[in-house]
Symmetry: D2
Amino acid sequence: MASTLGTLFRITTFGESHGPGVGVVIDGCPPRISLATSDIQAELDRRRPGQSRLVSARAEADHVEIVSGVEDGLTLGTPIALLVRNEDARPQDYAEFGGLFRPSHADYTYEAKYGIRAVAGGGRASARETIGRVAAAAVARQFLAAAGVEVLAYVKRVERILALAIAPGRVTRAQIEANPVRCPDPAAAAKMIRLIERVRKRGDSVGGVIECVARGVPAGLGEPVFDKLEADLAKAVMSLPATKGFEIGSGFAGTLLLGSVHNDPFYMEHGRVRTRTNRSGGVQGGISNGEDILIRVALKPTATIALPQETVDRAGRSATLRGRGRHDPCVLPRAAPMVEAMVLLVLADHWLRQAALAAAQVASRPGRRAPRRR
Amino acid sequence: MASTLGTLFRITTFGESHGPGVGVVIDGCPPRISLATSDIQAELDRRRPGQSRLVSARAEADHVEIVSGVEDGLTLGTPIALLVRNEDARPQDYAEFGGLFRPSHADYTYEAKYGIRAVAGGGRASARETIGRVAAAAVARQFLAAAGVEVLAYVKRVERILALAIAPGRVTRAQIEANPVRCPDPAAAAKMIRLIERVRKRGDSVGGVIECVARGVPAGLGEPVFDKLEADLAKAVMSLPATKGFEIGSGFAGTLLLGSVHNDPFYMEHGRVRTRTNRSGGVQGGISNGEDILIRVALKPTATIALPQETVDRAGRSATLRGRGRHDPCVLPRAAPMVEAMVLLVLADHWLRQAALAAAQVASRPGRRAPRRR
Amino acid sequence: MASTLGTLFRITTFGESHGPGVGVVIDGCPPRISLATSDIQAELDRRRPGQSRLVSARAEADHVEIVSGVEDGLTLGTPIALLVRNEDARPQDYAEFGGLFRPSHADYTYEAKYGIRAVAGGGRASARETIGRVAAAAVARQFLAAAGVEVLAYVKRVERILALAIAPGRVTRAQIEANPVRCPDPAAAAKMIRLIERVRKRGDSVGGVIECVARGVPAGLGEPVFDKLEADLAKAVMSLPATKGFEIGSGFAGTLLLGSVHNDPFYMEHGRVRTRTNRSGGVQGGISNGEDILIRVALKPTATIALPQETVDRAGRSATLRGRGRHDPCVLPRAAPMVEAMVLLVLADHWLRQAALAAAQVASRPGRRAPRRR
Amino acid sequence: MASTLGTLFRITTFGESHGPGVGVVIDGCPPRISLATSDIQAELDRRRPGQSRLVSARAEADHVEIVSGVEDGLTLGTPIALLVRNEDARPQDYAEFGGLFRPSHADYTYEAKYGIRAVAGGGRASARETIGRVAAAAVARQFLAAAGVEVLAYVKRVERILALAIAPGRVTRAQIEANPVRCPDPAAAAKMIRLIERVRKRGDSVGGVIECVARGVPAGLGEPVFDKLEADLAKAVMSLPATKGFEIGSGFAGTLLLGSVHNDPFYMEHGRVRTRTNRSGGVQGGISNGEDILIRVALKPTATIALPQETVDRAGRSATLRGRGRHDPCVLPRAAPMVEAMVLLVLADHWLRQAALAAAQVASRPGRRAPRRR
C-alpha cells in the first residue's frame, strides 16, 4: 500500500530514478472524461528539471505515454497507466557515492530497511518519483476543473525572502509562471532569484515555504474522523521529498491569537453561509466549508550540495563526501507543481467520496430507484 | 474508511459525544500480549476532563470495558473492542445552540455534508471521540514498550509562553505529569497556568504547541513513498480536533538554514550509524534512522468561548451566539495525551509493517521454511 | 483487515462466542436512513439458535443495542456500532474439550496460527460471530429495500433431499418462514425435517445447499476486474463457517452444456435489455445485467457431533473426543439468514460504489457543479 | 480498488485487450529476491494463445519488460512494474460487432455501467487482462518456492470427460505440460482433445473443471473472519473470466455425507498434527492446517462461438450475431495457468500476512528488541 494513495481516486506510482522508467496507474477515474496526452505533458513540463539555471540541469524530455484506460480521447473508467521513460539516466555520476551515505538523504535508511537499494539518484527517494504523481494530478485536474475547482501553488518564501504581495483569492497561474522561481510577487521573485544564484555558486542550497490555494471547493468535502481533509492534505504533501512542515489556515501563527479573535464569524452572502475571516483555512471539523482552502508547506534546503560533508560508508568507516552530479540549489520552484499535484489528488479523491455520499443519500430515499448513468 | 486508521494495526472508532457510548475496535494486535483493563484505564484517566480548573468541567469517570479479544489477561489476536459509556451526557446544555452554527466548530460543515447531525456536544467532532484513540494507543503502548519504544508528549508553548528548559532526549513522564498543564519546564508551566486562568475568567481561550518525542525507535520504520513515517504522523495528528499545523525535526524554522548547516552529518558510535545533529527529526526519506523522532503540533485556541459571537442559524438568519456549556479555556494539557496516542498508533502500525518486511526477507531466502510461531 | 469487509459499506465484527459480547461497527452507511432497534432485532431473531428442535438449543435472547450512529431513529452518517451481550455463555461445557482438537473445527488451526485461543465455543470461529454480520445486513436491507432490491435465501437441498418446487423469481419470505427448515417447498421441507430429526437422534449431522436470489438489482453493479460481483459474493459466502462451495447461475452443471446452449440470448422487453435465459445468474463480466442474481452455497455437515471421534490433544497425544455441549444437527435453517446477510452486505457495498461512479460521471461533465446534498 | 488485489502482496493490473499494452504493478514484494525476465516470460508463454489448435489463434509473443523494482537481478522491495505490449491487435476484426452485444459477454454490462467501452476484444473483460496476473504470480512463485510451496493446476474435466487417474499429492508439472489440454491423465487428455476438435469444427464451445493443488503450505495461513483462506481463494478464482463455481475439499459432493463420515480425524505423524482424510481441503476455520490445499473451479463453455446468435444492438434493435474473430473453443487449457496464478497470488499474500503475525508475536515479547533485517 506504500506506493498507493487515495480511496476512490487511487494512484499507484512505480519506477526508480535511473531504471527503465517511472509512471503511475490511476484506478477510479470516472469514465468519459476528455483526456489527451498533451493535458498531462503540459504538467510534466512544469515539473521537470533543466528549465532554468535555478534548478537541476538533468535534461529529460519526460515524454508521457498513455498505456491504458483511454480510447479516442475519452477515459474508459478503467485503470489509466501512464509511463515516462528515463532517458538521461547517468548512473555513473553516482558510482562514486556508492558506498557513502549522503547526509540527510534516504541512502542509509533505505539500506537499513531493505538491505539493498538502487544507488543511482536515490531510486524511489528521488524527486523523479513525483512524475507519476504530477501525471495523475493532471487527470484529476481535468475533472475538478469541470466542477469549478482550481488549485494553484506558488513559492511564498525562500529562506528569509517572504513574498507579501500575493492575494491567494485572486492569484493566477500566469502570474506564477511569469518567472522561473514561480513566485507571483515580482519584486520578491527577483530577490529570490538573486539569492538562489548566489547560493548555487557557493555550492550550497536553500529552502523555504510553498503556499497553495484551492478555490471553488464546495462545502462538504472531507470525512470525519481520520480522513479529515486537512489530515489527508497533510499526509499528501508530507509524502513529498524534503518537506518538514505543514500548516492550514492560521497554522502555527494562529496559536498566538485568543479564541475570540481566531474564530471565524459566520454570516450570509447571497443565500450562502460564509465566514468573515478564514483562519480555518477553508476546513472546519475536517470538512470543507466553501471558503478557499489555504495551506503552506515547509521545504528544507536541498540535501545535495557541492560542499564537502562528514559521513560514513556502508562498512561503517568515516569518510568525506564531495558532491558532484546534478542538483537543485533550491527545490522550491519545482516543488510548487508537486504540492499542487498532491492537493489536486486529495481533492479529487474527496470529491468522489462526497459525490458517492450525496448519491447514496438521494438514492436511498423511499421511492427512489437505483443509481443510473445519465 | 473514514473512521479507520492503520494498515496492520487498524483501529475503528465509534460513538457520539452524547449518545450511549464511545469506543474502538482494534484489529491486528498481536496475540499473547498482556493486557489488563487498568492498562487502558490509566491512559483514559489522563485524557479525561474534570482533572483541574484548567480544562473542561465535564465529570466523566470514563470506565472502559474490554468487550472482546482478551482472555485471562492475554490478547487473542482477534479484534479487541473497547467500550466507554457516556454518563454525564447533558444534551439539554446544547439545546439552545440547536439552530446556531458555532463559529470555527464543525456544526455547519457536518450539516452541509450529511444534512443531519448529532447536535449535542458536536457528536463525532467532539474531543470525546478521541477516547477510542487513546484506549487503542494504550494497547499499542503495551507492545511497543516491550520493544523498547517510548513516546512522550508535552506542552511546549501556550500562546507566547515557550518552555525552553526541556531536553526531549531525557524528559520523563513524571516531569510531564508534575503539573496540571503537562509542561515539564516548571517555570514555564507556572506562567502557563496563570495565563490560562486569566483567559478562562475572561471567557476566552488560548492555543499553543505540543511537542512529542519517540525514543528507542529502530531504524527502518516507514514506507516509501506515500506512507512515509512523517506523512503518516502528520495525518494522524492533523486528524485530532483543533490542530492547525505539523512539523518534524527542524520544521518551518529549518527553512531558514543553508543546506550545509541543515544536513545531519553521519558518524559511527558503538558500531551504529548516528547523526551529529537531528534536524531530520529521526526520519530520512520517510524511514526512521534510529535517532529520536521529534514532532510539533499547533493547536488553535479552543473554539468554544463564553463571549458573544456573530453567527447564523440553520435557516440562514443572523444571530448572536452566547456560550454556556462546559469547555476548556486551553485544550493543550488534554491534547498532549491525544498527540501521544496518535504517535503510538502510527508507530505500532509501522512497527508491524517493518516486522512483516523483515520476516519476509528472512523467510523467502532459499532453504528457509515458512513462518512459524515460536 | 481480517475482520473488516466492504469498500464503501464497511463492516468490522468483533467478539468471542463466550466472552462479554459480540457486535459490529458499520462505517459508510448513508445518513438519514430510518433505523430502529426492531429492524435489526427481527433479523437476529431469525438467526439465533433455540428456535426449534432442528437447531442448537443455546437459549440466547440476543438483544441488540445501537451504541452509536443513530439519533431519533435516523442514521447520522457516522459509524453505527451494534452490541449483543452474551448471556447464556457456558464455558464449562467446553472445559473438557480444552486440550483436544475437535475434528474439522478451527481448534488446531487457531492454535497453530496464534498459539492461543478462546477455547469455549470456538471463539471467533463460532457461528455466533455471524451476529454482527446479520445485524449489519439488517441495516443494508433498509436502504436496499428503498431502492427496490430484495434478497431471499432458503434451503434448496438437505443431503439428498432436493427442493424442486421453488421459483426463485417469485418465492416469498412468508413461504420461507412457513416451516422451521426454511425450505419454501413444503413437501421437501417435511422430508428434510424428518431426516434432520433422524440424524439428530443418532448424534450425527447433515449438510446441504442454500440458494439465494437477489431481485430488483439494477444493471451496473460490480467492478472489474478483481471486485467482480460474483467474486465478492463468493468471498462473502465462503467466509461463513461450514461453507465448501459456491456457484452462480448455471454453476458446475453449466459446464456440461455447449456454448451455443449456455449463452443467454439478448432481447428487448419494454425498452429494457433482457436475456431469454439466465445461465449467467444475473452477472456478466463481473457486472450485474438486471436479471435476478442467483447463487448456491454448499454447507458441509456440522462438524460438532455426539459420536466418538479420533483426535489428538495439544500435547500431541492420541485421544477420543466424545461430544456433549449444544449443537445443530443441520446448520442450514440458520445458515439461510446468514447467506442472505452476506449477499445483502455485498450488494449494499456495490450499490454505493455504483452510485459513486454514476454521480462522478454526472458531476464531472463541463458546466456541472460539485455534488450537493438534496 | 477494483483493479487491485491483496493486502501485503498487492497487485494492480492495467490495460485493454487492443490498446497499447497490458501489465501489472506489484507492491509489497520482499527485497533481495532473485528475479529475471525469463522467470516471468516462462509463465506468460504458458498462458498465451496460439500454442495449439485447441486455443485461440491470436499470435502474440507477449514479451514482458521489467520497468521497475529490480536491479541486477534482485528485487529492491519497491513496486515492480511489468509491461507487455499488444502487438497483434486487430481492432478491425471487431468493428462489425461494434453495435451488437455479444451474448454472455461483458459488452452490455460495461455499457450499462460506464456508458462507454473499449469495443475491440472486450477491453478489460478480455482474457488478455490476465497477463498481468500471470506475470505477478511468477514473482509470487519465486519466493513461495523458496519457502517450499508448490502450486499446480490442471484440467480435471472437459464437459463430461472426467480425468480420474490424477493423484493431487503427486502430480507434476511435466505431466500437466505433456499434452496441449493440460490434463495429467493421458487417456482422458486424448479424449478431451478429440472432443474439443469436434466442437471447434462445429463452431461451438465447451467448458469444464480445473483442479488446483497447493503443496507444502504450512499450517497457519488465512485470517479469520472475512479473509479466510478459502474465501480469498474463492474471490481470486471467481474474478477470472468465465468462472461459474468454486469448491474446496469435499465441495458440493461433501454435502451428501454424514458429519461422522465427513469430519477429518486428527492423528500424529513424525511429531506433526495430520488429518487422516482431507475433506477440509487443507483449510479449517479459514486457516491452513498443513495438508494439501485442493480446490476446483467451474468454467463455462466459451461465450464466443461461430454459430449465429440472437441479440440486440446498442439502439435496442433485434439482431443476429455471426461470429468471426479468433476464439478458444475451450478455454480450459489456458485457464489452468490462470487458476494457478490466482492461487499463487493469494498464498503469497497470506504467507506474508502470517510472516508478519509470527514476527510480531516474537518481537513483542518483553526483552525482545525491534525487528531487524538479517
